[in-house]
């Protein structure tokens, strides 16, 4: 689960990570009030779940109240297009108004779980404010890493090693090690999958602050992070994806015309791949999971077919725990109930598959049964071509 910058900063501050003073605003009036409370100048920042806001005009410096109002009016309600939002962009519904700070240096620091060691890892660089992937690719010597033993936490020598590596001295050194240690505690305490501070700021006064903050929390840990779970902003998610998550379905909207319904994430990705290889394009990723019930299948079908781009449905199920006859029963019921008129290609294999095929044939509905994945993709392309001809 992703968080807004202002939410991330508030959570980090709870662990002792220093942040600039700031307030959230949902209107220009609130932004002006926030600015007069904080003192000018301020920075007005669009709050959306995507990076690259500055380049898209979503971050503005305001020196007067009029400038605050102008910035808020310009950003609120605007649709920002950044390299992370996709071409459709993201509507801005809230702002963070933050005190302006005098910048001496900008650096980078993040914590992630390093999969190859299975441990938390700190990645830091003196090249702040830049795309860290570019820094890693072009000047890998500028990247510092430290792997943390989860039983011990971040050790003082590790924080010192990073601080020396970043060129911190004197009071900045002390502030820097404190910052890094607090950031690790936040990463651990929040069950974060990533905490990224870019830039981490050294002010002219020698303070070390998180000027921006990106926090992603492990979805599997939300049951024990109620404070974080309550921060979910469904405006930042696509409506169909929100609906799917209510039914514990994993759905991601894509831009093709073949609606896919598959059990298992790996098989679902492989199904998208074979659709593409056959010359068509998947409309979605949809994993109904291992033990889908008739109700789950109906929900899945409703979500998938409510995407207006979908012209053919491809169902690929390898039944293990999910028996094929149960799938067929759920499917027939769903198609009848929802009055689906889209052509449906079904490929099934596994437990009780013969029984299931018989049920589909006897239903009298427009199902095309396929033999194997390649045949299924071929049938999909054929049905699409048939539609174009008609």
């Amino acid at each position: 689960m992703n968080l807004h910058e202002h939410q991330a900063k508030a959570l980090l501050a709870g662990y002792g990570v220093p942040i600039p003073r700031g307030k959230v605003a949902f209107s220009a009036d609130e932004a002006v009030a926030a600015a007069s409370e904080l003192g000018l100048p301020v920075v007005v920042k669009a709050q959306i779940h995507a990076g690259g806001r500055g380049k898209a005009g979503g971050v503005r410096l305001a020196r007067t109240e009029d400038e605050v109002r102008a910035a808020a009016d310009a950003i609120l309600g605007a649709t920002l297009v950044t390299k992370q939002t996709g071409p459709e962009g993201r509507l801005v519904r809230r702002l963070l108004v933050e005190e302006g700070v005098a910048i001496a240096r900008e650096l980078y620091v993040s914590f992630i779980v390093d999969r190859s060691t299975g441990r938390p890892m700190c990645v830091a660089s003196a090249a702040g404010g830049m795309d860290i992937e570019e820094v890693a690719a072009e000047t890998p010597e500028k990247i510092l890493t430290v792997t943390v033993d989860p039983a011990l936490g971040m050790q003082p020598f590790q924080a010192r090693r990073l601080a020396f590596g970043l060129g911190f001295e004197g009071p900045v050194f002390r502030n820097g090690t404190k910052f890094l240690t607090a950031l690790y505690r936040a990463f651990e305490g929040l069950d974060a999958s990533q905490v990224e501070i870019n830039p981490m700021l050294v002010t002219e006064g020698g303070d070390v602050l998180a000027l921006d903050a990106k926090v992603s929390v492990d979805d599997s840990a939300l049951f024990r992070q109620p404070e974080v779970a309550a921060l979910r902003d469904i405006h930042e998610e696509s409506p169909l994806e929100v609906e799917a998550s209510k039914h514990r379905l994993s759905y991601i909207k894509l831009d093709g015309s073949v609606g896919c319904m598959v059990n298992g994430a790996g098989l679902a990705m492989a199904t998208m791949d074979i659709v593409k290889l056959a010359g068509a394009s998947p409309a979605n990723f949809l994993d109904v999971g291992g033990g889908a019930s008739a109700e789950q299948i109906e929900n899945a079908f409703r979500i998938l077919s409510s995407d207006p781009e979908v012209r053919v449905v491809l169902i690929n199920i390898f039944g293990g725990i999910l028996r094929c006859d149960r799938l067929a029963k759920g499917l027939i019921a769903a198609v009848r109930k929802l009055g689906v008129t889209l052509p449906i290609v079904i490929r099934m294999e596994g437990t009780n598959v013969e029984l299931a095929r018989g049920m589909l044939e006897e239903s009298g509905l427009d199902f095309t049964t396929a033999d194997g994945m390649r045949d299924a993709a071929g049938q999909v392309v054929k049905r699409l071509a048939g539609q174009e001809a008609a």
Partner: protein, 290 residues
């Protein structure tokens, strides 16, 4: 021989009195696995699925000489069940549980001493040595006894590969699902090491996914040490970057973990890399003939 599980496997199911626990314990036993015990704290002394239930794994080991654990408990309790199996000194513990917090896995992996219990999963289909033993949730009947080792991050896509092999009369030595989470107990390289040393495994199918660097590490190992034919498929060639594809681990970030990069690494290590998931079985047939 086979790897991880076989005729010597003596299974204890942790969470055996739950609906899932009882169902899968029975399915494993019906396949031929030697189910010897169950463990549910507070239910020691009862009987479930025809075997004695104990309060602790240590007691189950002492009384029944169980050597492999199968964890079927809800996500908040999974890591603790793993840790108990490690403490009891089982050879292997498998969990299919989906939704285990990554931090729990990070911590539990820290408790495994060198040479200690092997953890498989979580969020995986488990492991099966056809004709010998199954500790997992895969449909047993699609498998055939034979000499191809299968290792995969996916569940149903593994069944797909096995189905394609069995259809062609190609049997399997052991099929291992390692799971799709960011931190897992057993990685590709761990399983490939076992396959490399197993006389009964003559060739390997490796099924990877976008995200992380485990396939690249596998490619390095194959190049250096695995002198057996390998057929590989990477799922997610068409997945958009930055989106998590169902599995917590399946995400392309900042150009890392792409299908193209993984396919190239495996190809340059001498693997036959198929673009289509429908070609896994046929490609293995070709490699075995060649």
């Amino acid at each position: 021989m086979s790897v991880l599980v076989g005729n010597e496997t003596r299974l204890v199911v942790q969470g055996i009195t739950g609906r899932e626990g009882a169902f899968h314990a029975e399915a494993c036993r019906d396949y031929g696995t030697d189910l010897v015990a169950g463990v549910v704290p507070g239910k020691g002394g009862q009987t479930a699925v025809g075997v004695p239930v104990f309060d602790t794994v240590a007691e189950a080991v002492a009384k029944t000489h169980a050597n492999v654990g199968f964890v079927l408990v809800p996500p908040p309790f999974c890591a603790d069940a793993y840790a108990e199996a490690v403490d009891a000194g089982l050879d292997l513990v498998v969990s299919i549980t989906e939704g285990v917090p990554t931090r729990d896995m990070v911590r539990v992996m820290r408790t495994v001493p060198p040479g200690g219990t092997r953890i498989l999963g979580p969020n995986c289909p488990g492991v099966i040595s056809p004709g010998k033993a199954k500790v997992g949730i895969m449909p047993g009947f699609i498998h055939r006894e034979g000499h191809v080792g299968v290792v995969s991050r996916s569940g149903t896509l593994t069944y797909e590969a096995v189905h394609q092999l069995s259809e062609r009369g190609i049997g399997q030595s052991t099929c291992v699902g390692i799971g799709g989470d960011p931190v897992i107990g057993t990685n590709f390289v761990d399983v490939l090491e076992l396959f490399a040393a197993d006389d009964d495994t003559g060739a390997v199918i490796l099924i990877g996914e976008i995200g992380g660097g485990a396939e690249e590490e596998a490619a390095d190992f194959i190049r250096r040490e695995l002198k057996k034919p390998v057929v590989a498929f990477i799922a997610g060639q068409t997945a958009p970057p930055g989106r998590r594809m169902g599995h917590a681990g399946a995400i392309v970030m900042g150009g890392q973990g792409t299908a193209a990069g993984k396919m190239e690494a495996l190809r340059s290590a001498g693997c036959t890399v198929v673009e289509s998931p429908a070609e896994m079985g046929a490609a293995m047939e070709t490699r075995l003939r060649g």
